[in-house]
């Protein structure tokens, strides 16, 4: 009698297990969508850019002629514009961003930390087209009438600050990009600096270090790999930023030593010319440029994430 009665558990279990399995497969499919989409972007861009890849190959990167009428496409001026404007942005954003991060993680009393961090986040939340609008009507006139004349009179002997002050150009683009990437440096650096164990700071203090010495000798070296990761994250943002840059850089494909001169970036040329591209090779060339941007930003982001994750997980593994 007892032996013949089926236990309630095993009877129900198969259906419940099937349900569980199916549900897990559903969730896993959704989770798998992310790596699949990244792969799909790569495949889609390569296939759409194929005519240009086939035609220009590696010459694409060293040719500085961009002539849709003649069917000659080279992205050298755009690569130059993208790299220099991003470098300029980082040059300004790194010291400022680290300053804010030190302020937030080491000096700020708790009640001030949350609102200041919130405002920095808000800066990142403003749409880039709005920053660009402000750039056109406020920043560019200021650069033309104030910043560039001052730089020219002080440092005009350098080729970097030569030429007429136009307002629009590389300098304005670098400035606006620095505004847009600094929140990323602040957010990630603050996080990794706060992850530094307080024992480090206390040890430095116990040895008689001042506040600044503590930060410099105990906190910064510990957080170094995370800070470098933060900088790479910001770099990836700067390389791919489109609207605000398009609106202030002047959009002229040229390589000039002067920061006052107009320039052009890869995202900007795609944004401006894509809908006007009439023939297939022109479209393929623009997508080829987009493919390059995609590969570079994915690589920079992946590197950044590895560094940041390592720093956030446990600083002990990165000790020298």
């Amino acid at each position: 009698m007892i032996a013949t009665r089926p236990a309630p558990g095993p009877v129900e279990e198969p259906s419940a297990r099937t349900g569980d399995r199916q549900f897990r497969v559903l969730l896993a499919t959704m989770a798998a969508a992310v790596p699949v989409v990244i792969g799909a972007i790569l495949v889609a861009l390569i296939s759409a850019a194929w005519p240009a890849i086939h035609r220009f190959g590696a010459h694409f990167f060293v040719t500085s002629t961009w002539d849709p009428v003649a069917g000659t496409f080279g992205v050298l001026p755009f690569i130059y514009g993208t790299l220099v404007s991003s470098a300029l942005a980082l040059l300004l954003a790194i010291p400022l961003g680290l300053g804010v991060a030190i302020f937030l993680s080491e000096l700020t009393p708790g009640w001030l930390r949350t609102p200041v961090g919130f405002f920095v986040e808000l800066l990142a939340a403003i749409p880039s087209v709005v920053i660009g609008l402000w750039g056109i009507f406020v920043l560019v006139p200021w650069v033309r009438t104030t910043l560039e004349p001052v730089l020219k009179s002080a440092l005009g002997f350098l080729p970097l600050f030569s030429g007429p002050p136009l307002g629009i150009g590389m300098l304005a683009a670098g400035l606006i990009l620095s505004v847009m990437v600094v929140p990323f440096i602040v957010a990630v650096s603050t996080e990794v600096m706060r992850a530094v164990p307080s024992g480090q700071r206390e040890a430095a203090r116990a040895l008689g270090a001042t506040g600044w010495e503590t930060t410099r000798t105990a906190v910064l070296p510990y957080a170094r790999s995370g800070i470098i990761g933060a900088i790479f994250l910001a770099l990836a943002r700067a390389l791919g930023e489109t609207m605000a840059v398009t609106m202030v850089i002047g959009n002229v494909p040229q390589i000039k030593a002067s920061l006052f001169a107009p320039a052009y970036t890869i995202p900007a040329v795609i944004a401006n010319e894509f809908t006007e591209a009439t023939d297939d090779l022109y479209v393929a060339a623009l997508i080829y440029a987009g493919l390059v941007l995609f590969i570079v930003t994915v690589a920079v982001n992946a590197l950044a994430r590895l560094l940041v994750n390592r720093a956030a997980r446990g600083p002990s593994v990165i000790r020298e």
Binding site: A31, I38, V100, F137, V179, T297, V300
Partner: protein, 267 residues
């Protein structure tokens, strides 16, 4: 050091302050009833509004939500419920990387995927571009929130004989719902301001459009078109559009932030 870093902070926050001051100062005077109720005027003419662009942005965001929310929420639940699975580790990293892919590249992707086969621009293509961008944000916030659900809640449900899948769907996700919705709102606010992925997908439209297979207007596209135009009245309207857009984005962010801090406190 305190002075220098405090100076850095003020310098970094100064652009936020200046942008907001100019936005309110210039945009407020340009906002009027016409702006919200009328179609764009002809080039060079004074007057007209952005009513179709505001509607277009709502349409695009809805489409993006349809694409991005289910994938983001369910995928994020997987990351939280099976944190050690190989797939979770790969996806977590991939989502972080995807977050940093330039928005213009997402536009190219949607162009190749949808505009090329269909041979014309459409709201659908724009919605897909934005929806793909929404996925990593929603997924990572969902993961974080679902992880906060105490194990005792899951165990209580499992102890009652409720299968795992039902526990996740009917107990864990509802417990985390408020936080998930907050994450979705922040994600939607972020993509609402995106312009670059729409340039050659949604394309823009001077008229009303509710057909997802036709090109549609969008607030950020209209702001961009007006900002680079040579007309003073359009510049004025660009500021008004920007003020509208930023008000929505910032409001959602502030409300979400407030809601999130309330939830953390209540735990």
């Amino acid at each position: 050091m305190a002075v220098i870093t405090c100076g850095c902070t003020l310098l970094v926050l100064a652009p936020l302050f200046f942008v907001l001051v100019f936005l309110v100062g210039t945009g407020w005077s340009a906002l009027n009833w016409d702006f919200f109720t009328r179609l764009p005027g002809a080039a060079g003419e004074t007057g007209g509004g952005m009513t179709n662009a505001i509607a277009g942005t709502l349409l695009l965001i809805s489409l993006a939500g349809v694409v991005g929310i289910p994938i983001g929420v369910l995928g994020g639940t997987f990351l939280a419920e099976y944190p050690a699975a190989r797939l979770s580790q790969v996806t977590r990293f991939a989502a972080d990387v995807m977050n940093g892919i330039p928005s213009i590249v997402m536009g190219l992707f949607a162009y190749v995927l949808i505009v090329l086969p269909m041979r014309h621009f459409s709201a659908l293509a724009g919605g897909v571009a934005l929806g793909v961008m929404l996925i990593p944000t929603v997924m990572r916030t969902t993961e974080e929130i679902v992880r906060l659900v105490p194990h005792s809640v899951r165990e209580a449900s499992l102890a009652l004989g409720i299968p795992q899948w039902k526990t996740t769907l009917r107990v864990v996700i509802p417990t985390a719902a408020a936080g998930i919705v907050t994450g979705i709102m922040v994600g939607l606010a972020r993509i609402a301001g995106e312009t670059a992925p729409l340039l050659f997908t949604a394309f823009g439209n001077r008229f009303w459009n509710w057909n997802v297979l036709r090109p549609t207007a969008a607030l950020p596209l209209q702001i961009f078109a007006y900002a680079i135009s040579p007309f003073d009245d359009w510049h004025r309207q660009a500021w008004a559009g920007a003020l509208t857009l930023v008000s929505i984005v910032l409001m959602v962010n502030i409300v979400a932030r407030y809601a999130a801090s309330r939830q953390v406190k209540s735990r």
